[in-house]
C-alpha cells in the first residue's frame, strides 16, 4: 500500500459563519478531515464594555449588562446588582428575592431551550428543533415584556430589589408557562433524544476530562457534564436558593451528548424551582427602602458577586473609591472562560464535529468579547 504525500490545510471558520453563533473565528489546521490544531480568535464584537462601566454611574451600567449575554439579560442584571448590593450592604426584600429567582429560572429555561435547539441545528437537524424551542421561548419573552417592558433588554433589577412588582396577572402568566414546559420537554426529547443520528454524532465526541474542566476553571453545564458537581446556586446559596428543593444533574463522560442532556435535565430542575417559587412567593415590597436611583454611592472597597448564570459562573468584580462611579468594573463571563478549552476538545475530531462541540459549549459573543 503506497502512502500519498499530503499537506495540512488551514481553514478559517468564521467570523461570518452561521455555525459559529456570532462573530467568532476558528483558525483550524486540518489533516484530511481531522483537526490537528485549532485557534479560537475573539474580539470581533469588542465594544469596550468594561471601560464604559467605569464612566457610568453605578445605575448607568445596569442597562449595559443586558447587552452582555443578550439571551439572559435577567441573570446579568442580577449578577451586577448582587455585587453592588454586597459592597453597599443593601438587604433585598424577600419578595424581590423570589421574583429574582423566578426571572433567573425562566431565563435558564429559555437559554437552555435555545442552546439545545441550536446545537441540533449544528448537527444538521436544520431548524425544526430550534423553531420548537423558539416557539416556547416566545412565551417567556412575552412575559418579560409584560413585566419589564422589553423582551430581551429587560433592565429589570435594581440595587436592593426589582423595578416593577409582579401582579397577580403576570404571576398567572408565569404559572401557565411553567405548567406547559414539561410537556414541551417531553415532546422535544421524543423528537431528538433517541434519534440514532444524534447519538452517532454526539456520543464520545468532544470529551472534556474532569481534571481539565477543573483546571481550566470551566463552569456551568459544560463542567457539570464532565462530572464536576459544581453549581453556585448550591455552593453560594445566594438569594433564597437555599429554600428550594432541586438537584444538580451531573454527567459522566463529558462528551457532547452529556452536555446536551445536562441542559434538558437542568430545565426539568428549573421547572421544579419555579413551581416552588411561584407557590411560596411572599407579599411585601419589591425593592429595599434604602435603594435609590440618583446620587447612589458605594463605600470604598472592592467586591465580587457571582451567580450561576445559564452558561456558568457569571461574576462582576467591582472596585469603588466611594464615589458615584466604579473605579474598576470587571466581568467574569462564563462563555469566554468555557471557550478556552475548545482546542483540547476538538483535537483529533473531524471538522464537522468541531462545529457541534462549539455549539455544545453554548457561547454568546456579546459576552465573550464584551
Amino acid at each position: 500500500m503506497s502512502t500519498i504525500e499530503t499537506q495540512m490545510l488551514e481553514v478559517s471558520l468564521g467570523p461570518q459563519h452561521p455555525s459559529t453563533h456570532g462573530v467568532f473565528r476558528m483558525d483550524v489546521v486540518l489533516d484530511g478531515e481531522y483537526v490537528v490544531k485549532l485557534k479560537p480568535v475573539m474580539g470581533y464584537l469588542h465594544r469596550n464594555h468594561e471601560q464604559i462601566g467605569e464612566k457610568m454611574t453605578w445605575l448607568g451600567s445596569m442597562p449595559y449588562t443586558d447587552r452582555l449575554d443578550y439571551f439572559c439579560s435577567m441573570t446579568n442584571n442580577w449578577a451586577y446588582a448582587l455585587s453592588v448590593e454586597k459592597m453597599a450592604g443593601i438587604k433585598v426584600p424577600e419578595r424581590a428575592e423570589y421574583i429574582r429567582v423566578i426571572m433567573a429560572e425562566l431565563t435558564r429555561l429559555l437559554n437552555h431551550a435555545c442552546a439545545v435547539g441550536f446545537l441540533l441545528s449544528d448537527c444538521g437537524a436544520w431548524f425544526t428543533p430550534v423553531l420548537y424551542a423558539l416557539r416556547e421561548r416566545e412565551r417567556i419573552l412575552d412575559f418579560f415584556e409584560t413585566v419589564s417592558g422589553a423582551r430581551m433588554m429587560c433592565n429589570y433589577m435594581r440595587f436592593g430589589g426589582v423595578r416593577v412588582d409582579l401582579d397577580e396577572q403576570s404571576l398567572a402568566m408565569a404559572r401557565a408557562i411553567v405548567a406547559r414546559w414539561p410537556a414541551f420537554l417531553d415532546e422535544f426529547e421524543k423528537l431528538m433524544t433517541e434519534n440514532e443520528v444524534l447519538l452517532a454524532r454526539t456520543q464520545r465526541v468532544g470529551i472534556l476530562p474532569r481534571e481539565l474542566a477543573i483546571n481550566a476553571s470551566v463552569s456551568g453545564p459544560v463542567a457539570r457534564a464532565s462530572g464536576v458537581a459544581y453549581d453556585i446556586r448550591k455552593v453560594d446559596k445566594y438569594g433564597v436558593y437555599d429554600r428550594f428543593d432541586f438537584r444538580v444533574p451531573v454527567g459522566e463522560t463529558g462528551d457532547t451528548f452529556d452536555r446536551f442532556m445536562i441542559r434538558i435535565l437542568e430545565m426539568r430542575e428549573s421547572v421544579k424551582i419555579l413551581h416552588q417559587a411561584l407557590r411560596d412567593i411572599p407579599s411585601g415590597p419589591c425593592i429595599a427602602p434604602e435603594s435609590k436611583l440618583r446620587g447612589f454611592k458605594v463605600p470604598a472597597g472592592d467586591g465580587y458577586g457571582r451567580i450561576e448564570s445559564p452558561k456558568g459562573e457569571l461574576g462582576f468584580y467591582l472596585v469603588s473609591e466611594g464615589g458615584a462611579k466604579p473605579y474598576r468594573y470587571h466581568v467574569r463571563p462564563p462563555s469566554f472562560v468555557n471557550l478556552t478549552i475548545l482546542e483540547d476538545m476538538c483535537l483529533g475530531h473531524k471538522v464537522a464535529d468541531a462545529i457541534i462541540i462549539l455549539g455544545s459549549i453554548d457561547i454568546v459573543l456579546g459576552e465573550v468579547d464584551r
Binding site: E145, T146, G149, A150, N155, R163, R294
Partner: protein, 318 residues
C-alpha cells in the same frame, strides 16, 4: 431497534404539522399576526422611546428643563436648553429638548429619575426615518404628547401618576407659544454638523466627552442677579450637596453654618434650575432678601418648602 428514535421524532413533527392547521379551538397555538393589518396588543409596560407629557395645551408641559434626565442618561442622548425670556430670566421650561433616536437604548432610566413625571416611555415602535442624521434627532414638538395620549397607551400607570400629582397648576403667568424649533441643520454650521456626524465616540481621546459638540446658544445672557449670587463655593465646602442624603441629615450637616448654607441644605440638591438658579444661587438669593418666594424648589416638594419657610421665619426674612 435501529431507526425507532428517528421514527418517533418524525411522528412529533407530523403532529405539529397537522396541529398547526387544525388547532381544535386552542387559540393560543396560532402565533402569526398579519402585520400591519393585524397588530399584537402590546403590554402596558412595553417601552420604545421617551416622550414628554403636557397637561392641556403643549405650553403646559410638565418638563422644567431641570436636566436630571440629561445627566443620568447612560448613553447621553438627551440635550436640553432652558428657555429664557428677553431679560435672560429662566422660564422653567425647555426651548430645546433633543433626543437622538440612534443613540437612545430605550432603557427608561430617564423616566425613573424624572422628579416631575414629565418624561414617559412610548409604545410606538414604527420609528424608521429616511435621513440618517437629521430625522433621527427628535425635537421638542415631536416629543410633546398630551396626557390623554399617555392615558390612552398606559392607562393604569397614567392614572397612578395623576393621583400623585397635585391638582393642575394654573398656566404660567405669560404663556408664550412654543417656538418652532429649528431643525438641526439650521442650528449647526456645516463644520459643526460634520463634527457631530463623526460621532461623539471620536471625542473620547480628547478629554471629557462633550456631547453634542455644539453648545446651542447655551446661557447667552445671565442676569446680573445670578452672576452675583451663583459663585458656588468648592464642592467640599458643602458636604450636603448630594441629592442622596435625607433632608434631616442635610440639615444636621449645616447646623452650625450661616443662614444661606442652611437654606441651601434644605433644597433638593439637584441643581435643576427649576427655580431659576442652582441650589447655591437660590439659597443666596433667599438669604440676601432678593427673593422672598420660598416655594420654588420643585424637586424638593413639600418638605423643602416647609423647611425653607421655617428657616426664613426664624431669620425674620418673611
Amino acid at each position: 431497534m435501529i431507526g425507532k428514535g428517528l421514527m418517533d421524532g418524525l411522528v412529533v413533527t407530523a403532529k405539529n404539522f397537522v396541529g398547526s392547521y387544525f388547532d381544535g379551538n386552542r387559540k393560543e397555538r396560532l402565533f402569526t399576526y398579519q402585520y400591519p393589518e393585524e397588530r399584537m396588543p402590546l403590554p402596558e409596560n412595553s417601552r420604545t422611546f421617551p416622550f414628554l407629557v403636557y397637561d392641556g395645551t403643549p405650553d403646559q408641559m410638565r418638563c422644567t428643563a431641570c436636566k436630571v434626565c440629561e445627566t443620568e442618561c447612560p448613553p447621553q442622548c438627551i440635550c436640553i436648553v432652558m428657555d429664557r425670556d428677553a431679560n435672560g430670566k429662566p422660564l422653567r421650561r425647555p426651548t430645546v429638548f433633543d433626543i437622538d433616536t440612534s443613540v437612545c437604548m430605550q432603557c427608561g432610566i430617564c423616566v425613573e429619575v424624572c422628579p416631575f413625571n414629565a418624561i414617559k416611555m412610548d409604545c410606538d415602535f414604527e420609528r424608521s426615518q429616511y435621513a440618517r442624521f437629521d430625522d433621527l434627532i427628535t425635537h421638542l414638538p415631536t416629543l410633546l404628547k398630551s396626557n390623554e395620549y399617555y392615558h390612552q397607551i398606559k392607562s393604569a400607570e397614567a392614572t397612578r401618576v395623576d393621583a400623585t400629582r397635585k391638582p393642575a397648576k394654573k398656566p404660567a403667568a405669560a404663556p408664550t407659544p412654543v417656538k418652532p424649533v429649528p431643525t438641526s441643520t439650521d442650528m449647526r454650521t456645516e463644520d459643526e454638523r460634520q463634527a457631530w456626524q463623526r460621532g461623539y465616540q471620536g471625542e473620547v481621546g480628547a478629554g471629557e466627552i462633550v456631547w453634542p459638540p455644539v453648545v446651542l446658544k447655551k446661557q447667552s445672557a445671565r442676569t446680573p442677579l445670578e452672576q452675583s449670587v451663583s459663585s458656588a463655593p468648592a464642592a467640599n465646602d458643602v458636604p450636603w450637596h448630594d441629592s442622596g442624603i435625607e433632608l434631616e441629615k442635610r440639615m444636621e450637616m449645616a447646623k452650625e453654618r450661616p443662614l444661606a448654607d442652611k437654606l441651601m441644605a434644605a433644597m433638593a440638591q439637584v441643581d435643576c434650575q427649576a427655580c431659576g438658579y442652582d441650589c447655591r444661587g437660590y439659597a443666596n438669593a433667599l438669604a440676601s432678601g432678593e427673593s422672598k418666594d420660598y416655594s420654588r424648589c420643585a424637586p424638593g416638594e413639600e418638605p423643602t418648602k416647609n423647611m425653607l419657610e421655617k428657616l426664613m421665619k426664624e431669620a425674620g426674612k418673611i
